[in-house]
């Protein structure tokens, strides 16, 4: 009732302001929904691909990414709990068709595979697929999905060029699969070929990537897992297909964490915009509240009036946010998709959006809750309005000395606690960085302190700014400054929102810069070969490999001084996917020795080279709490490697961490001597173009070979790093939006508050341009305040983010470096946004009746 009588007319009268308030929640919820939906879509696309490819598979046997020998298949088939077990190889190849990207090749054994997967043919000779003989006898046979065929105009017996390790080969389309679950996997870019042909085409030797199986009738999956686990040993993972989705998720953990932090900030910012609006509404409606109180409304009724308003705002805003979030999710999903293709080497396209109802409900809930939380303080203040005072005219915006003091005291106390939280772990002195809950408490408190202090700081800064503004424009400048000083709440809410979003931008940019610095430094020694020879255009695609024999061939090419064979593969260590890098350590020690983070530099390489030890990357040590001397247990197909850690080195190959070992060890335990990359050193660095040419000529038409120069590889790595930090640009966009929204909001109120003042100004001779200018100056000043506080909080935030990255995400040890470049670029961006935000309010200020502006009721 109260709502209908009181709130609705208010909303009606302030349509624009109501919209802006709602926009705040829309923004927060949209970013939350957008980022999570995108993230989930990619994850879903991955697990869908896995599921669809898995067909009726109940369990999969894998050994990380490395694959295993063919004999494992026979063992699995002989298990009593296994009804059917079939080998699988997956390879991602470049289609060489413009705009078609990568094709996922599923290498399977047609003789048994049909028990697990359906290969219904759309066209083509049924006998081809029903009769594996034809399919198997011709190694150029592929069956493609209806989707892929349609997109590329392929029919039965069409020729399809694909990149293999033997160079580009023409394959024959022997059949086209009907659209089904299977064919929609990997966005439809799917082809099936014989597993043994795939071994040959993609350099897999006599290994399989995994074995898919179905459990024997009457036996349970658990029984089967147990039997195979005992039979195969620790080097193998036996899990349902969904397990791979979990591993993929683990791999994306770092990214998900960043997404989480970003969307939380967005919600926080949205909360501020709402708080701002409601605080202003309470101030403006004091008289109305006073009358209501005088007429007998209780405090509770007043409080619920405002909370009710915020709930309604929250519901509308959240709904809008959900819709808008889904709209932006597609764009974000595309960028995450390309990111993980490039960064993690797992090709994945999110075909459709995973709009999970649960997530949307959570978003709605969070939106409404955020909105109501933001309104709690204003509602409380409204309820405390004294009817007598409220009906008198006067200033209410000024922060009372008492409140300022209370805030300052609270800030000081919380600040002290926050610092104490930081200090606590260092007293404990543990390598893991002490108590994580304490650390995060400290982080949250630091942000809260900043928020508590922001009105005071905004006020102080505005006072400092006044003489400057007055000097620039005696009237407009001074009045703009006074406007901010007079209404610190109005001003500081915008400033605080801006501060938060800029702090996030600064932190991300700082992290990006620190990562760049570290990665460049690392690459300078770790990536010092003159040339890199790769089997695929993408550095991170490891599904196509070279045979070992190529090493000798490359070494014999004139101009080549030395080669190093690298085999890297994701393996499962302590249930986490980490990167195993096998390289000729002795040679590496001569060319690319780096001072270790821990361990004896000389002994470390010697022991690793002789297979008596392992080196781990700093980030793995950090994430798994490992140190020199610890005994590592690395499960491999041929048994568990038990060796001590002899050195901890910086290595940024993988976010989950890297285990470095000698090639001989890898060959022995994985029974795999294939090579991902050849590192090539030349006699004369000047001969790079010539030797590169020689290598390409040597393998022309024989093998698919990509030769990258040192510079090209580094550029590639940096490009990937760039993509990882593409999130920063989303953050900047959010900051700009916040700047605009917050400032429009503040100014809209400001021009209402200052209506008389602006009227007087015009009455005594102020031109419209001058009125506009004072509004612009106010906007720009809010921008400046936001920038200053944002940079300050950003500097602190960066510290925390780097700590989080170090301890909880990637284990990367990054040096603190303030991102001056981004900060400098933000200044004009935010000021321009502020100016744009001021355009409309400034116009509104010069329109309207002067008489009304000047008159008193």
């Amino acid at each position: 009732m109260l709502f209908r009588l009181i709130s609705r007319p208010y909303f009606r009268r302030h349509v624009l302001r109501t919209m802006l308030t709602i926009a705040g929640i829309v923004l927060g919820v949209a970013v939350f929904v957008g980022m999570h939906t995108a993230n989930q879509s990619v994850l879903m696309a991955f697990s869908q691909t896995v599921d669809r490819i898995a067909g009726k598979t109940q369990l999969q046997v894998t050994a990380g990414e490395t694959g295993f020998g063919e004999e494992v298949l026979e063992k699995v088939q002989s298990a009593s709990t296994v009804r059917v077990a079939v080998p699988v190889i997956e390879a991602v190849v470049d289609t060489n068709i413009r705009g078609q990207g990568n094709l996922l090749i599923l290498g399977i054994d047609m003789t048994g595979d049909r028990s697990l997967r359906d290969y219904d043919l759309e066209s083509g000779d049924d006998a081809v697929i029903d009769d594996p003989l034809v399919f198997l006898a011709q190694p150029d046979s592929v069956i493609v999905s209806n989707e892929f065929a349609g997109r590329n105009g392929l029919t039965t017996n069409s020729r399809l060029p694909l990149g293999t390790i033997e160079g580009e080969k023409l394959f024959t389309v022997r059949g086209i699969m009907k659209s089904s679950g299977l064919t929609s996997a990997f966005g439809g870019n799917l082809a099936v070929m014989d597993v043994y042909a795939a071994q040959k085409m993609f350099g897999r030797g006599r290994t399989f990537d995994r074995v898919d199986l179905a459990v024997a009738d009457g036996r349970t999956i658990a029984e089967c897992e147990a039997e195979l686990g005992a039979m195969l040993g620790a080097g193998f993972t036996i899990e349902p297909p969904s397990g791979r989705g979990q591993q993929f998720e683990a791999m994306l953990a770092a990214y998900s964490m960043m997404v989480g932090i970003s969307s939380l900030f967005a919600l926080f910012i949205g909360m501020f915009i709402i708080y701002n609006s409601f605080a202003i509404a309470v101030t403006e409606r004091r008289a109305e509240i006073g009358i209501l109180r005088a007429l007998g409304a209780t405090r509770g009724q007043i409080r619920w009036l405002f909370l009710g308003e915020s709930a309604i705002t929250g519901v509308i805003g959240s709904l809008g946010g959900v819709v808008f979030g889904i709209l932006i999710a597609r764009g974000i999903a595309a960028s995450i998709g390309s990111l993980i293709t490039d960064v993690y080497g797992v090709a994945q396209q999110a075909g459709e959006l995973a709009t999970s109802p649960a997530l949307l409900m959570v978003a709605l809930g969070i939106g409404v809750a955020t909105s109501m939380v933001a309104a709690v303080i204003p509602a409380y203040q409204a309820a405390r309005v004294d009817p007598v005072h409220a009906l008198q005219k006067g200033k209410y915006q000024v922060l009372s000395a008492g409140e300022s003091r209370a805030r300052a005291v609270a800030a000081a106390v919380l600040g002290a606690v926050s610092v104490a939280c930081l200090a606590a772990p260092s007293i404990g002195g543990s390598a893991g960085g002490g108590s994580r809950p304490l650390f995060y408490t400290g982080y949250v408190l630091a942000v809260v302190v900043a928020l508590l202090l922001s009105p005071l700081l905004a006020l102080t800064l505005a006072r400092t700014l006044r003489p400057i503004l007055r000097w620039i424009r005696p009237v407009e400048g001074a009045l703009a400054a006074d406007s901010m000083i007079q209404a610190p709440r109005r001003t500081s809410a915008s400033v605080a929102a801006l501060m938060l979003s800029l702090a996030l931008v600064v932190a991300f940019a700082g992290m990006a810069r620190a990562s760049y610095d570290s990665i460049i430094d690392w690459m300078d020694t770790a990536f010092n070969p003159d040339l890199f020879v790769l089997p695929s255009q993408s550095v991170v695609i490891r599904t196509i490999r070279f045979p070992k024999e190529m090493g000798a061939e490359l070494a014999s090419i004139p101009g080549v001084e030395r080669i190093q064979m690298v085999r890297s593969a994701r393996i499962v260590f302590r249930e986490t996917p980490v990167m195993a890098v096998a390289i000729e350590i002795e040679s590496l020690a001569e060319t690319s020795a780096r001072p270790p983070v821990a361990g004896d530099p000389a002994a470390m390489y010697r022991l690793t080279a002789s297979g008596q030890g392992l080196m781990v990357s700093d980030n793995l040590a950090q994430l798994q709490q490992l140190s020199v001397g610890d005994m590592l247990e690395v499960p491999a197909p041929a048994g568990v490697i038990r060796l001590p850690i002899v050195g901890v080195v910086l290595d940024y190959s993988d976010q989950q961490g890297t285990i470095l070992m000698d090639r001989t060890l890898f060959e022995k335990y994985w029974n795999d001597d294939s090579v991902n990359v050849f590192r090539v050193y030349l006699d004369d660095p000047a001969s790079v173009p010539a030797v590169r040419q020689r290598i390409l000529e040597r393998y022309e038409g024989v093998r698919q070979v990509f030769v990258l120069t040192n510079g090209e590889l580094k550029e590639y790595v940096l490009k990937i790093t760039d993509q990882w930090f593409g999130l920063t640009s989303v953050q900047i966009a959010v900051a700009v939006l916040v700047a605009i929204l917050g400032i429009v909001n503040t100014l809209t109120v400001s021009i209402t508050d200052r209506r008389r003042e602006l009227g007087v100004l015009q009455a005594v001779g102020g031109l419209r341009a001058q009125i506009r200018r004072t509004i612009w100056i106010e906007a720009l000043s809010i921008g400046v305040l936001g920038l200053l506080l944002g940079f300050a909080l950003g500097a602190i935030n960066l510290y925390y983010i780097l700590q989080i990255v170090h301890h909880d995400i990637a284990g990367m040890r990054l040096d603190y470096a303030f991102p001056t470049g981004v900060v400098v670029a933000l200044v004009p961006t935010i000021l321009a946004s502020a100016f744009i935000a001021a355009l409309w309010p400034a116009e509104a200020a010069v329109r309207g009746s002067l008489v009304e502006a000047l008159e008193y009721e």
Binding site: R83, P132, L136, A137, P139
Partner: protein, 266 residues
């Protein structure tokens, strides 16, 4: 035990000598004792024993739309039933020419099978695991080709009936509970004059799903052998015909030609 897993392409290769029975219980049963259904089946089995076999086969699949696909191979077998080894080499059509299959049969467990594909110069083990699936695009399922253990079925003599003018015993065989089969029951016709198989009908519940007809039954070197077999899949509406040419029994074949190394040589 392993009998349950004894499903094999190998069995297919014995088609000419009878599908339904196993050698395990082959013994000296006389024609006079022929009324007993089990004895009839055992005797039919015994009469097909041979030291070795060779033939040239033509396999024709007629699908429901009337299309025909042909394959030809040469087949050699050394030994009989549970102790035998066999090599099958495709000669036509060109896409499969040179592909070879080696089958090593074991009396007590599933046979081992390898396939040699010359184009990628690879041999591979074939594990045929799901017995109800179709065998190499034909209308035979793997189970149809399995060597059956006589002891896993119950037989009932259901009367006499002429097939192609020859009087046959009509015997119903039902899998025992220990035996898992896609079929609920089968009806087998065995000619009274020669103990040669004439027809098999396979039922799922009460529905006839597959029928195998034996024809052109000739005495080759004392063994009555069907030169033509035709399996009709009544659900799919397609049928598969196997014709044997140049059939010989008991020729001198060398053990060393039935190894993995041997099939790698062309």
């Amino acid at each position: 035990m392993s009998k349950r897993r004894r499903l094999s392409a190998a069995a297919f290769l014995w088609l000419p000598v009878g599908v339904v029975v196993s050698s395990h219980v082959a013994g000296g049963v006389t024609a006079q004792a022929a009324d007993d259904a089990r004895t009839i089946v055992e005797e039919a089995q015994r009469r097909t024993d041979a030291k070795s076999q060779r033939y040239e086969g033509l396999l024709q699949v007629f699908d429901a739309r009337g299309r025909i696909s042909d394959k030809r191979w040469t087949f050699e077998r050394l030994g009989s039933h549970g102790q035998s080894r066999a090599v099958l080499r495709f000669v036509a059509p060109p896409e499969v020419k040179g592909v070879a299959l080696l089958v090593v049969n074991h009396p007590d467990r599933a046979s081992d099978q390898w396939m040699w594909t010359p184009a990628i110069e690879r041999d591979r083990r074939i594990a045929l695991q799901d017995r109800s699936t179709r065998f190499f695009g034909t209308d035979f399922s793997f189970e149809d080709l399995e060597e059956r253990d006589v002891n896993q079925f119950d037989y009932v003599l259901a009367g006499e009936e002429p097939i192609d003018g020859f009087v046959c015993w009509k015997i119903q065989s039902t899998p025992r509970r220990t035996k898992s089969s896609q079929y609920t029951r089968s009806i087998v016709w065995i000619r009274k004059d020669t103990y040669a198989l004439a027809r098999i009908e396979n039922y799922q519940k009460d529905k006839l799903v597959r029928r195998l007809d034996y024809s052109d039954i000739q005495n080759v070197q004392g063994i009555w052998t069907a030169r033509r077999m035709e399996m009709a899949d009544l659900t799919r509406g397609s049928r598969t015909r196997l014709t044997l040419d140049r059939l010989q029994y008991n020729l001198p074949l060398k053990e060393e030609d039935f190894t993995l190394q041997a099939i790698r040589r062309q």
